[in-house]
């Protein structure tokens, strides 16, 4: 279902034996990521955007903010909406409705990843309780697929949320008690989100008796099951999920969660450093664009 490649038996054996000896086809160790590039503020019409390139996987995230009505169960909070589009650019299999199934699976996982109190402070997104709140539409576009969509997607979302600028609004009430929303005149007067607690997803693929991080499509074809984990900078796990047609024995699940926590925790500090660095450059920043 996910852009699969044909891998022959001989190739499989080669990959399996390599991973057994902690050496992967592209020379990485079992817990290494491929080269990653992150660029924020890539689409001017969005309130926040980011593009992440991980090996040959390219993910573009755009965030649009709109004013909506809070959910009746939580009148004092705003909310996030996720939508993942598997573009037919990535693989012809996604043409028409082909990518829909994968897209829903990815967006449902994102809702679970953010289904906790600390990832994003939703209370800050409230404008007036029960009446108006900010709704963040997080739209993910897969431009190229070369394995490990989950990780690339979550990093791009964190970067885009960091980049998101929400306009400041004021509530003014007239003499008759009617309320009105006023937008700040200054376009630079905006609210930023605290993304410190936004988790990143780590996908661990079980290949043979070991597990690997950031699997390419070839490696994924050799794996029977993977474990998806979203980990915060403190090492808290906000979502786990087993994917794939195989099963895992409990001991390897425990090994994988341990490794996932370690790898995921280490992902945050360099990412935040990079985002802050890019932010400080401001307009001087060299744009790489889509052909970089």
């Amino acid at each position: 279902m996910m852009a699969a490649v044909e891998v022959s038996e001989a190739e499989k054996v080669y990959i399996l034996h390599g991973i057994r000896d902690d050496l992967r086809v592209d020379g990485r160790g079992c817990e290494d990521y491929r080269h990653m590039e992150i660029e924020t503020d890539v689409v001017s019409n969005t309130d926040g955007s980011a593009k992440v390139t991980l090996g040959h996987t390219v993910v573009l995230v755009g965030i649009k903010t709109e004013i909506g009505k809070p959910r009746p169960m939580v009148p004092n909070e705003g909310y996030l909406e996720f939508f993942v589009d598997c573009s037919a650019n990535a693989t012809p299999e996604f043409e028409g409705r082909g990518g829909e199934e994968l897209g829903t699976e990815l967006s449902n996982t994102l809702y679970r990843v953010f289904n906790n109190k600390h990832s994003i402070d939703l209370k800050r997104l409230c404008i007036s309780p029960g009446e108006h709140c900010w709704v963040l539409y997080v739209d993910v576009l897969l431009l190229q697929c070369d394995g490990n969509l989950y990780d690339a997607m979550s990093i791009a979302i964190k970067a885009a949320l960091f980049n998101t600028k929400i306009p400041k609004v004021f509530i003014s009430s007239d003499d008759e008690g009617g309320k009105d929303i006023e937008l700040s005149d200054d376009p630079y007067d905006c609210m930023r989100l605290n993304v410190e607690n936004v988790p990143c997803i780590v996908t661990l693929c079980k290949v043979g008796h070991r597990h690997i991080v950031d699997a390419t499509l070839q490696e994924k074809a050799c794996s029977v099951a993977s474990l998806i984990m979203s980990v915060t900078h403190k090492g808290t796990v906000t979502c786990t999920r087993k994917v794939g047609g195989g099963s895992l024995d409990p001991e390897s699940i425990f090994e994988m969660t341990e490794a996932g926590k370690r790898v995921g925790k280490a992902l945050h500090a360099p990412l935040m450093k990079l985002l802050e660095q890019e932010e400080s450059l401001g307009k001087k920043q060299q744009k790489v664009g889509f052909f970089g």
Partner: protein
């Protein structure tokens, strides 16, 4: 959708009256016994009622009841696959469709499958697939239809158990049964097989370990075929939770075996169909 134009339609937007109920200040207290008298921090699962073969039209079917959670599952097939474009013809396909009856939850749901139901369907499929010998059914598909009649917590866990029973009842070759168990972590303590009130109890704001976990387990092979969690949990809590859920699955095992063997012996004793 066809609508009745003669009928006075209700308002476009309506809300459940339950929203206007005054919420107790701090929900269910994290200490003390649970509302139904079960114990906290124990693998105290609800007593389960299971039956096989209740739908005569289906190849196999099962019904499960745990507390007020009621689920019904039908299995159809193996039959020729609908999607001819699927490249892998050596293996069969297992399709799952899980739906909540509109009246199954406190708030009325829609008949159209929502994203939550699709999510449950995927998780059910991923939990069941490792147990089914799909290579024995080339070019064919096996359909699992799950209907949630009443949702009173731990729906996915019981759906997994119920679906594996229905598959076994349909005579589909399997490596093992699949059993499901859920857990709700609430700060330092946990509740096994939570009811929906316990699932939605968010607890005080500051507590860090808040989450739900569902495990699908193959008891005789000692393999985990499905794992799903959300909320916030430390890795240690998660690991401990998985162990607890496995224990919970083992508690279900004798009963499920007994139901299956009774079902089989009844089928063997029954007069052959004319």
């Amino acid at each position: 959708m066809p609508t009745d134009t003669k009928r006075v339609r209700g308002p476009d937007v309506s809300q459940s009256p339950s929203l206007f109920v005054c919420q107790p200040a701090d929900g269910v207290s994290p200490q003390g016994p649970r509302a139904d008298g079960r114990r906290r921090d124990q693998v105290d699962v609800r007593p389960v009622f299971v039956r096989c073969g209740l739908v005569s039209q289906a190849k196999g079917s099962a019904y499960i009841e745990a507390g007020n959670t009621k689920l019904m599952c039908c299995v159809y097939g193996p039959r020729e696959t609908e999607r001819k474009d699927e490249t892998d013809m050596k293996c069969g396909r297992l399709t799952t469709d899980m739906r909540f009856a509109p009246f199954s939850c406190p708030e009325r749901g829609s008949w159209i499958q929502g994203s939550q139901e699709k999510d449950f369907s995927t998780m059910l499929q991923e939990s069941l697939q490792p147990a089914v010998c799909l290579h024995k059914y080339p070019r064919s598909q096996i359909e699992v239809n799950m209907m949630v009649l009443e949702n009173s917590g731990s729906v996915l866990a019981h759906a997994i158990t119920c679906a594996s029973l229905a598959l076994a009842d349909a005579g589909i070759e399997m490596y093992d049964l699949v059993l499901g168990c859920s857990l709700r972590q609430n700060g330092a303590s946990y509740v096994a097989d939570p009811t929906s009130a316990e699932e939605n109890d968010r607890g005080p704001d500051q507590s860090r370990n808040q989450g739900s976990l569902t495990v699908a387990f193959l008891p005789s092979l000692n393999q985990i075929s499905g794992l799903q969690s959300d909320g916030e949990m430390s890795e240690d809590t998660l690991t401990a939770g998985v162990r607890t859920c496995i224990e919970g699955c083992y508690k279900l095992y004798p009963l499920v075996q007994q139901v299956l063997s009774r079902c089989v012996s009844r089928a063997a004793c029954a007069p052959p169909p004319r």
